[in-house]
Homo-oligomer: 368 residues x 2
């Protein structure tokens, strides 16, 4: 990753939320993708003053009709020649269905491309909740189930893989009652997602399930790229947990993975990029998969940005106390302290560009 | 500009339009500011599929109420501690008034800051039109006139300085009938803007007025920082014109100027940054003004990005013809040719990050 732009020229349609202040949703995804050299079309599904973790915000959602109409606006001017799509937070079941129509439309178009069905790749982050809290209404879960088979790579977090989330809800219909309680049942769930939904690439982020090889204060991601006969090629990457609650980490992970997956595939034989879903041949060993190389690099960037965010928190608190009315533990009590914490936990991205573009940290994958 | 971030940590509120695809308004301003290390709060005044120069688009405007409500959302969570504000395209007179309320509110707050009235600086780009075309309704002109005295730096383009635009309309009320027809009358207009509206810093972009020292195919910017007794310190920078119509150049110029002005002031004695409007002492010679150093650097970046955009056009046309249904001169005639031209004239920014951050080109200012 020494050259200025390791990621080839890539036109990405990024569909997610926009916040005026702070770094979540498209606000973090667009800058991350642009920093890695991608040309981004940013379709914002909401405009809020700040993320909802602050517990108060203003702004409004964009309707399902308007989301689809914006896409039609691109299409009528021939601006829909996307190499990739990244979909994140979408407000409500109807809007999820509208984004599904967009993805399916781009997929259909790509099947007729002279450059092959690999000319379009959809990274779907089924944003439904985190840390035990569902962000969306219950109807959103079946809406995702109806479109997930059209995605090339899905990135649920641990909560979205837990009983109330996506996989387990799919599970209640398709996993024959297998509850995800440990690594074995998580692996079983990934197998079923390949087999039933034919999702080619899966990464489950922030897995906190106990495992004998997991050191204290560490987390893992678990992922797989399927074979031609829908069997998983499973890997795990262990990385140090950082004891702080951040918003936007999933969005940053998804944006980095989008760009790095493209890069990793473009580093392979030119044949791979023409194949649907960039699916490596069955002879490719799990640790040689582009998805694995992408995830290793992504976790390096994530770790550096989170570490630098934590390192900057004392200074950020001091500055915020000087320039705003916020104090930790003073007048205003818990509400002000929460606002201060939320503000200081905003990912510090723009001045850590080098960590996005050329992370020094690396976490090696293991086959499982 | 060798260090990684020559611009000090800066929190900017950027208020302008958002387009899904392409590089105008906040879409170009936010990335430009972020690339230079600024933390940006992006308040989008519209979300359109693409810029209006394509002659067709979808999407909608954000109402004046919602613009102000988003600001109130920031304020209630103590997220309104902005060092700078950059305001660009605002749809309609009511929305201009709402942005004016935001600017005035931030100004008032800054007057009570321990770090002095220099703790807030407002760059106002009175976006009303370009190349002979008014983008906005006529009522927007007096709406700008009502708030411009609260700005620290204004950046009208040549059209906005012509008879139908801002200065001339102001002129019809305040400039005693002086028409802007040459450099002398333009200078006179700047003088009056300092004197009547007390606007401390002014740059008129893309000046095409004839001048004896202007080589063929060159343009100039003309600017001034006033003295304490409201006299202008006038300068001019001549740069080569590029024979192509681009959208978004004014937005990119404004974003670069915002960051580089901050940088130039922070390179001066610490006293300057505490003063209202960062107004240099009367002993400071015109060519030593921070505004001049900022503009020289900005024009270097502008020239490099525009040159690289033109250099990439042949390849962009070839690629667009391969990946879209667009052809130049084929079926579909003038409409398709226009869409293709509009698309290929989108500024190529993300892969020219170095030109934003560390331009090699420089154009020297002259005192006039």
């Amino acid at each position: 990753m020494a050259s200025e732009f390791p990621v080839p020229e890539t036109r990405v349609l990024a569909i997610a939320s926009h916040v005026v202040s702070g770094n979540v949703g498209n606000k973090i995804a667009v800058f991350t993708l642009q920093s890695l050299g991608c040309e981004v079309a940013a379709l914002n599904t909401v405009q809020f003053s700040n993320h909802t973790g602050y517990r108060q915000w203003t702004g409004s959602k964009v309707s399902a009709e308007e989301i689809y109409s914006l896409y039609q606006g691109l299409k009528q001017s021939y601006l829909d020649d996307f190499d990739m799509m990244l979909s994140g937070y979408i407000p409500g079941a109807e809007a999820v269905a509208a984004v599904g129509r967009i993805g399916k439309d781009l997929r259909e178009k790509s099947l007729a491309e002279p450059s092959g069905p690999g000319s379009f790749f959809w990274v779907l982050d089924p944003v439904m909740g985190d840390n035990g809290r569902l962000y969306v209404s219950e109807e959103v879960i079946p809406a995702y189930q109806a479109l997930v088979e059209h995605a090339d790579l899905i990135l649920p977090n641990q909560f979205e893989a837990e009983p109330r989330g996506f996989i387990a809800n799919a599970e209640s219909r398709v996993l024959s009652g297998v509850k995800i309680v440990d690594m074995d049942t998580l692996k079983e769930a990934i197998k079923v997602l390949h087999r039933r939904y034919r999702i080619p690439h899966i990464i489950i982020t922030s897995v906190r399930l106990p495992a004998p090889d997991l050191p204290p204060r560490h987390l893992s991601v678990v992922g797989s790229t399927m074979t031609s006969d829908l069997r998983p090629r499973l890997f795990k990457i262990i990385f140090p947990a950082i004891d702080c609650y951040f918003s936007g980490t999933g969005d940053m992970f998804a944006a980095l993975t989008t760009a790095r997956m493209r890069q990793a595939v473009w580093e392979e034989d030119a044949d791979l990029r023409t194949r649907r879903s960039w699916l490596s041949g069955d002879d490719v060993d799990v640790l040689s998969l582009p998805l694995v190389r992408a995830a290793e690099c992504v976790l390096g960037s994530m770790h550096e940005v989170l570490t630098k965010t934590v390192d900057g928190m004392a200074a950020a608190t001091e500055k915020a106390e000087a320039t705003t009315g916020l104090v930790d533990g003073g007048e205003g009590g818990e509400k002000k302290a929460h606002l201060l914490r939320s503000r200081n936990a905003e990912l510090r991205l723009v001045r850590n560009l080098a960590s996005l573009r050329d992370p020094q940290a690396r976490f090696k994958a293991k086959a499982i």
